[in-house]
Each structure stands twice: as C-alpha cells, then as structure tokens.
Symmetry: C2
Subunit: 388 residues, 2 copies
Amino acid sequence: MPPSPIRKLVPFAEEAKKKGRKVYHLNIGQPDIKTPEVALEAIRNFDEKVVEYSHSAGKESYRKGLANYYQNIGIDVDFNDIIVTTGGSEALIFAMMTALNPGDEIIIPEPFYTNYNSFSVFSDIKIVPITSKIENDFALPSLSEFENKITDRTKAILVCNPSNPTGSLYSKDELEKLKEIAIKNDLYLISDEVYREFVYDGNTHTSVMQLEGIEEHAILIDSTSKRYSECGTRMGCLVSKNKEIMASALKFAQARLSPPLFGQIAGEASLRTPPTYFTEVYDEYIARRNFVVTELNKIEGVYAPMPKGAFYTIISLPIDDAEHFCQWILEDFSYKNQTVMLAPAAGFYATPGLGKNEVRIAYVLKVEDLKNAVKVIEEALKVYKVES
Amino acid sequence: MPPSPIRKLVPFAEEAKKKGRKVYHLNIGQPDIKTPEVALEAIRNFDEKVVEYSHSAGKESYRKGLANYYQNIGIDVDFNDIIVTTGGSEALIFAMMTALNPGDEIIIPEPFYTNYNSFSVFSDIKIVPITSKIENDFALPSLSEFENKITDRTKAILVCNPSNPTGSLYSKDELEKLKEIAIKNDLYLISDEVYREFVYDGNTHTSVMQLEGIEEHAILIDSTSKRYSECGTRMGCLVSKNKEIMASALKFAQARLSPPLFGQIAGEASLRTPPTYFTEVYDEYIARRNFVVTELNKIEGVYAPMPKGAFYTIISLPIDDAEHFCQWILEDFSYKNQTVMLAPAAGFYATPGLGKNEVRIAYVLKVEDLKNAVKVIEEALKVYKVES
C-alpha cells in the first residue's frame, strides 16, 4: 500500500510543533467531544474477576441492546442479524471478504474514505471509483454512471452515508435507485453509516436497512466511535439479514475469537446515553460547521460546499497542488506562531489526478480554534500565491 | 472456510446442558485463572474524559513497557520493534500479510492451531504442513523434512512454541537449526510464543528473538491473553527488527486506526503483575497437567504425551473416528449426569486423514473437575467400544 498523503505530512507537523508553533489539526476525525458518562461509569464499575473471551459475534446482551437501538430508529433487525466487530474497520473487512471473492470489483463513489483502499488490499478486491464532483456539492453520480461501471466481476456497491470525506447525505430517492441497480444486477449494497447521528438542517437519514425488498443485498456497517465519541473502544458492527453473509462473516469473527470485552461494555452502556447528550453535540457541530463553511467561503478563490452530515467537508483552494500546499503551510508558514494541518484530497480519490486543488477539513475543533485555523489558511493563501 | 470440527459440536454441548447434564469443557483455551488485580484496578481507575484513538502501533508508554518486559527476559528489543495488535490473532494476520504475498507458501508443523487456517485464508497464502507425530511426542520434524518442503514460493516457516495444541517445546538446538534453514533459504521464521510463561519441568524457553544473526528473518507473535488470563482484552503484539516488515505492518495497523485503548491500559498495568501471581498460576497448571496426563494414561488404549509447555495435550484414544466419538459423548452418553466436550484433533491437521483417533485436551479446569472429566472419558470408552 502506498503511504497516504496525510501520513507523509506527520513529520512536518511534528517539526512545526518543535519550533513552538501551535498546529490546528483539521486533518483528523478525532472529536474533542466527551464520551458519555454512562460509558465511562460502566468501565469504572467493571467487577468480573476474569477478563474472558466473549461470543465471537459479540455479547448477546450487547447485540440485543443494539437491535433495540436500531428498532427505535426504524431499522427492523434482530440481534441475530448483528455481528459485533473491532471498530467499523473490521466490519468493512468482513463485508468485503464475505460479499466479494479475490479479484471481484466493488463500485465506490469517490472521493471516499482512504482506508477503503487498505481494506480492499486486505480482501484482494478491486475498487472501481465513480466520481462525484465538488461543483455538484459531491452529489451521488447518476445511475447510468453506476450502470456503466458494472462488469461481470462487479459484486457490490459501497456508499458512505453521510459521507466521510464530503459530508454528503444521500436521499431516500437516491438510495431507492441504488437499490434498483443492486437488485437488477444482483449486487450487494454496502452502506457505511457510522455518521448516522450527524445529519443537519432537518434532513432525515435513510438507512440501507430501511429499503424494502433489498434484505438479501443490504449490508450495514456501523461504529460507536463517532456517535458516542469513543473511538478508542474500537466498537463496530456488521448488520445484514442475508443468512449466508452472516454465516460467512461469523467464521471470520470466530477466527479472531472475539471483539474486545471492555469496548463492548462501554458500547452497551452507551446505549443508555441521555438524549440531551446528542442535542448538545448536535448544536456544537452545527455551530462549527456553519462557522467554518461561511468563513472559508469568504476567502478569495475558496469554495466550501455546505455539508449535510458527518463533520467533514472537502473544499477547493486557489492552488494547483494541495499536497505541496499542505506541506508548505506546515514547513514554511506560520501566522502569529500558528499553522494548520490539512488533508490533501487527492488521497480520497482513486482516479489519478483528481482533487489536486482540494483539501478535506474535519470540523472537530472548538469554534475559537476554527477561527484561528481559518485565519491561518487565509493568510497562507496570500503568501503562497505570491511565492508560487 | 470449512466449519471447524469443534464448532460443529457446539449445538450438541448445548443440547446436553438442556438435558441438565454437567458438561466439562476440555475443548477450549479459556483459563479460569483470575486476571491480575493491577490490570482490573487500572481499568476501574480510568479517568480520561474522551476514549480516544491511540497511536496505530499502540501507546508509546505501553510499547516501552513491553520492550522493558522483553529486555528483562533476555529479548533485546526496542519499543520501535513492537506493534501492538488486537490480540495475537491480528499479529498473525499482519505477519502473514507482510511476510508473504498472495499465493506464497508457509511451512507449519502440524498439528497446529486451527485458526492459522483462517488467517491463511485472510492472507490468501498456502499452508504447507509438515507432520509431527504423537509417537515422538510431537517433536519437531527433522530438518531434512523441512527442506524437502521448500519451493520457490516458500516465504516463511511458522512455529508455535510452546505449542497449542500439542504442548511441545522446541529446544534452543532445534531453533538454531530452523534458523539455519531460514537464513540459507531466505525465509522468515515466525514464532508464536503466546504461551512463553507456561514452560514446565525446569525447561527454559528460547525465543526466536534470542537467536543470533537472524534479526532480519525473525518475527515474534505475542499476546497477553494467556500470560495474564485476560483473553477478553484482545491484546497482542508483533515484534521484529526487520524495518521493512515493520513499515509494512504499520500500514495495516494504520488502516484499522488503533488497537483497543482499554486493552492497552490493562496490558500496560499487567506488566506490574507481582511474581507471586505467576508462581501460583504455574503451580496450578503443573498440578493439573500432572494429574490429567497420569490419569489419562491409566485408561486402557489411551496415550497422552507429557506436555512441556502451554496447557494442552493431544492424546490418542482407542477409537477410529474422534469426531464421531466427541459428538456421541455429548449426544448419547453421560456418567452420573456428566459429560465432556473434547476437540477432535483432525481439525488441527492440514493433511487429510491424520489425527482421526486423537483429541486435544485443554487442562484449564480445576483438578477436581478434571478428575470427573477423565472418569467420564474412561466410562465412555468402555461403552463406546462395546457399542461400535
């Protein structure tokens, strides 16, 4: 696997810090939001004497709790339709390894979450990208574009909804059309919905599991990392009503014995998080999003689409080479002894040459910090343009 | 992946329990030993506000602690030579995926840990077994046998030392010879040493990392699961001085973001486990081993080699088909309303037809329970022989 453009920047960020500079990290999805107290309390109250393996599919009580969570948001699943995984990452690997054979193709709208590339290397499958464009605010490409990409090796379509890295949200209508393609061509429709709770402006989220008649084709990828700001627990799950997929995924789950016990305890307790927690988190992200998008769009030559979900947006800059800019800003630029770390968007595209003037922004910092970070970008662009 | 012979027995064990029978589980490696109090205490004292991702290679403080643990047992490694993994399972997957390419071959003495098969499916590599025999107490096969198996696709040899499932322990001499083969044929020597602390009768354990001149070829697989009886934490690590292997493994580690945080906290605290803990555990296992092996060998037609390490032994029974016997004993037999679950050994062999009259015994139960379990086996064999 080639090193991602973000990884290459890490030493430059470290250097900048050594120089005493404040580095605002707009590059990562590690929220600063507190983990729900109920989850931390459950960990502190652990009173077993032996930290034993759990069931390979996850503790039954946790799976039943998850089924109840899904039922409450209109997703009709039973605990047997759920396999608890070590993060959404493992759920994605299990999904790819069970739904596709080595050499098979999976269609994914780009830009997409970079690690999909790594998981495809794990699974020895081929990603076929289909480009969504910043000028359309990264809307889902037309269905004919999907159909054009289907070959006899195509086995699945994977969408991230709402999307990391673009913040796009796919409507029920769009999902219905993907459903039609999936059924017509006998493909799996894998939906990564780990940002489900982060949907703004009164939009509603449609899960792949809510589409009727697609039960045998639908695979849901989930994670508690962002929902409860507990990334470190490494708790995810794979959900499907397709018995064959579940039986095959269970074998992979059995091979690695069990998901982490403490993460399951935290995850199960998190299901009791009071609704006020989400209101506060929601208000915080709305404020951050509104601020950062508005302010970025005020900078000459910058275009930032308004994301409908998640906590990312991909923006275009008045530059030619974002990788160079991102390194330069860390290495050679500072404004009032501050700089920023951005993620060059090229790393989120599979098609070479795309996204060269784009960067991904994660608005996971306080508004006050975002204000400083945006100012750094504005000042940097003034100098960078002159220099280059 | 085909279902393992043990999995197939699970419903029969459940049925037996429903009939009110006590089932002694000699089939699994879940010890009943208590997790060290220092580990549980560290979990109960968790006082961070956000459960964040850690470094993809594991928390630096934990890796430094691990390096110190290795130094203390005569394994000279630095924290940069260590990547913390989600259990030994993930370390094995990383090792296979980095040391071998799809289609490459790995030589493994059989019988071996069944999940090596699953991990080879993950990695799309081919396991080439080399048979060790119960009549030699599962000693390492001769080196000429290894050399006979080497082709131009062979990239690694994997040993489990001490061995699950046989309890064999490889001597320094044997390892030196494996080292010669590895160097001569430019192979990786992967050593799964998760049972390192379980070595009996005054024998000493030799790690692959202690062999001189093999630094570029040696990969150590480790786990805290058995050492501290904390299987549920899912904490393992991959250790190597080969920079290329480590760089490649790190990319896989980055793709899944980070190992579980709570497991790392428990693992780091476990490094402070007082020596008395191990003395007690050791005495307990010695007593169990001595009891179960002695008693099993008293049964007519049974041969149980004396294991030198780990907490397993593979024994031969006076029967033709252990899979049938293991199912029968759960389904149709009971002695004083008790029965046993055993692991048919065929599942640990890659060569079809081997191990048909063998079962693996995990001596992870109290002596009192082992006594009852052995009695059940003795009585069952009397009836089974008559019936069949």
